[in-house]
Structure formats: structure tokens, C-alpha cells
Subunit: 213 residues, 2 copies
Amino acid sequence: MPRAARAVLQPRKTPVQVRSAASVEAILQATLQVLLAVGKERLTTTRVAQRAGVSVGTLYQYFPNKSALLQACLRRHMDGVSRAIGDICEKHKSDGLLEMGTALVFAYLDAKMRNVKESATLYAVSSDVDGAAISKASSERSRRSVAELFATAREGLTKDPEVVATVVLAALNGVARRLLEAKFPEREAEALREELIVLVHAYLRTCTASQLA
Amino acid sequence: MPRAARAVLQPRKTPVQVRSAASVEAILQATLQVLLAVGKERLTTTRVAQRAGVSVGTLYQYFPNKSALLQACLRRHMDGVSRAIGDICEKHKSDGLLEMGTALVFAYLDAKMRNVKESATLYAVSSDVDGAAISKASSERSRRSVAELFATAREGLTKDPEVVATVVLAALNGVARRLLEAKFPEREAEALREELIVLVHAYLRTCTASQLA
DNA sequence: TCCGAAACTGAAGTTATCTTCATCTAACCA
DNA sequence: TGGTTAGATGAAGATAACTTCAGTTTCGGA
């Protein structure tokens, strides 16, 4: 993995013609495909270019290096997850706390499990590539959404919504990871989801004065 | 990262003389030191050998390749954590559930936070190197310990101890990761630990028939 | 239709590290 | 003390990408 260009994350050139935008799109898609097909160890820029149906040179026209390419890919995925969380938060404003909890569990697991292999692969990529910053930004956004959501809960919180959101999301993330590492994620998913709801509900009950059903 | 030798993880040669055992030890320590000092991107076998005070050739006498070296390092660390869990489980056999929960939270966070940078760095290494298998084996051992512990709880569980253990450990892991990724882990640690205890207690209360304090 | 800019090409250069192996030294044992 | 095995050495070889750039093609407006 290259040592250069920590700072240069942005595409070099902003597409102005249609075909170039198409190239960028193709390259990003190809990156994910190659990643899934052969794994990050054997992902090469040439291979990605081939799969995208362009030349390596074109690839390097839009991404300063391999690392930036992978980062862009990662960012896409993460944004998808945090957008899913954000949407669900919008939908459940002013609901009851438990309802919120249930909705979050479903949304989170769905987002991660939609295609298991993609999530798992990108987790692995994340630790190269300084993915920490990217996933941090993304999970920060989720945390905000969830904290705001909790703040609107009918029952009223007795704790800092930010803290509650942090704990809930961390727990969700822990279980999701556990699931992704399992041999047959789909098989275990349902059971763990039920249990996760129990966990989240139990916790949320401690965060409010009123007695929840 | 090499593509070869997926299967060959074991040291090539088993030390029979004292000095060679010392070499192996020195190499492993050096690996960790180099990792912490310059990061995995710039860790080279030559650099490790230098730091260990041996030649590269010696290194390759005991580790078939760089990957195996890092795996050995990772295994060491993971074993430390699961041993800490195992110990605490022994100590709290037949205690009350809540007590167990508290003890686990402390043990887990302590183990991960003892030296934050080491944990964080090795997490990153883990995703190269096929670390999944290693950490899986280790966390499987932890899960066993914790499940056995829960099975001895005074109150008696109304759920499968394995499931309960899985959920609790996943949640712990999620929060620990969140903490390791934070800018100042030590600063947030205490607050999150308290909250984690609340979370675990709340969950454990749902796992037993009797009313817990 | 023509021209300048945008986009594309891909062979070749560059760099960096892993890994080997022929050779040397130290340890052990009879 | 001499022979045999274990251990250590490190320069050289091999590999495997990444990345560049000079030249070509395509696009879009005048």
C-alpha cells in the first residue's frame, strides 16, 4: 500500500463531459467487483481498469492512487449505511423510545446485511487506506441522527441523548460485526436480531423516567 | 501482502537450543515495537530483524513469511485478552448475574485499554494477514468461558447461555472498538464504562426469572 | 467543417520489499 | 578435542505492483 498522497483524496479531475462521468462510475463499480471477486490482496489498478473497460491511465486520471480509489469505494458504502440510519430516524421522530429502538435494529442490520460479502470486504479494506477517518465521519453522522431522534422521544430522556446514541450504535455495530464474521451470517441473523432488540429495549428503559411497557 | 503460504502458519523450526528461543522472542517483540513505531505500512522484515538484533535470514528461519510473523504477533495479543476473560470467569463462578456483568465489563475494557495503541494497531493488522481466523478462534474461546460462567449464575438463566454470552461480548466489543477509535480513548473510557454496565445489567435482567436488584 | 480541449491509451520506468541460499559460527556430545 | 548439527548471516535475486507520459482519439462549440 502506497505511502504517498495522504492528503490527496479527491479525484484529480472533475468530469465535465458525460463519458468521463461514466468512466468514473464504471471504475468505482469495477473496484467493488474486483474486491469481491479476488479480494483486496490481489486487487490491482490494472485489473480494476480492465474490468471497468478502460485503461489504467484513465483510472489515474481520476484517482491519484490506488489508495484514493479504495477510499472512494469505502466512502460510498459508508454513506449508504448512514443514509439508511438517517432516513429511519426521520421516520420515527416523536415516536416512543422502544419503537425507535426496534426500528434502529432493523434498519442497521438490514443495511449491513443487504449484501454481507460487500460489508465484510469493505471492513477489511477500511484498515488499510486510513479508512478510520472515513468510517468515523460516517458513524459520527449516524450518531447525530440517532441522538436527535432520541431527543424527540415521547417519554423524554433522563440521560444525554448523545451518550445513549453512542452506546446503542456501538452495541449494534458490535453485533453486526460478529454476524459478518460468522460462517453463515444469514442463518444467525434472525436470532441475534431478536436478542438485539431485547438488549436495546432493556437499555432504553433505563434512560427514561416513565415506566415503559 | 504475500499470496503464498496460507496454510503454513507455524514457525518452520522448533527451537531446541536456548539462543534460538531467545531469537524468536526477540523477533516477536521487535515486530510489535516496529508496528507501534512506524505502522504496518512501513514494517519490513529487515527492519524487524534489525530491531531484534538478528539478521533477516534468522527471521526467515522461524517464520515462513511476513504474514506469518504478523499472525504470530496477533495471536499473542488475542490470547492475552481471552485469557483475561477466562480468568475473570473462573473467579466469578456461581456469583450473581449482575456481579458477573460488572466484572466482565471491567475485565474486557481493562484488557483492551491497557495499552490502547497496541490494540488499535493490531486491529488494523488483523484485516491483512487473514487475522479473522485468529481473532475468531480467540473470541470463540472467550464466548465459551462466558457461557459457562453464565450457566453457573445463582439466579438461573431463562435463555441459552451461549446466546447471552454472544450478545454480551458483541456489545462489549462494539463499545471497545468505538473507544479505541476515539481521539482520546482514556478520556471517554470511564463514562462509557458506566453506561456499558447499565447496558449489560439491563440485558442480563431480561435473562432470568427472578427479580434482580 | 475545423480546432482546441477533454479524455483515453498502454508500454515502459521506477521503486520497494520479500525471500533465498551458500557460507560461516556457535553449541553440543562422545 | 573433533565431528556433527543447530543457528546465524546478509548480499543478491526475483517479483510484482504502482504510476507516468507522450501520443492518439473523441467531443463540442464556432
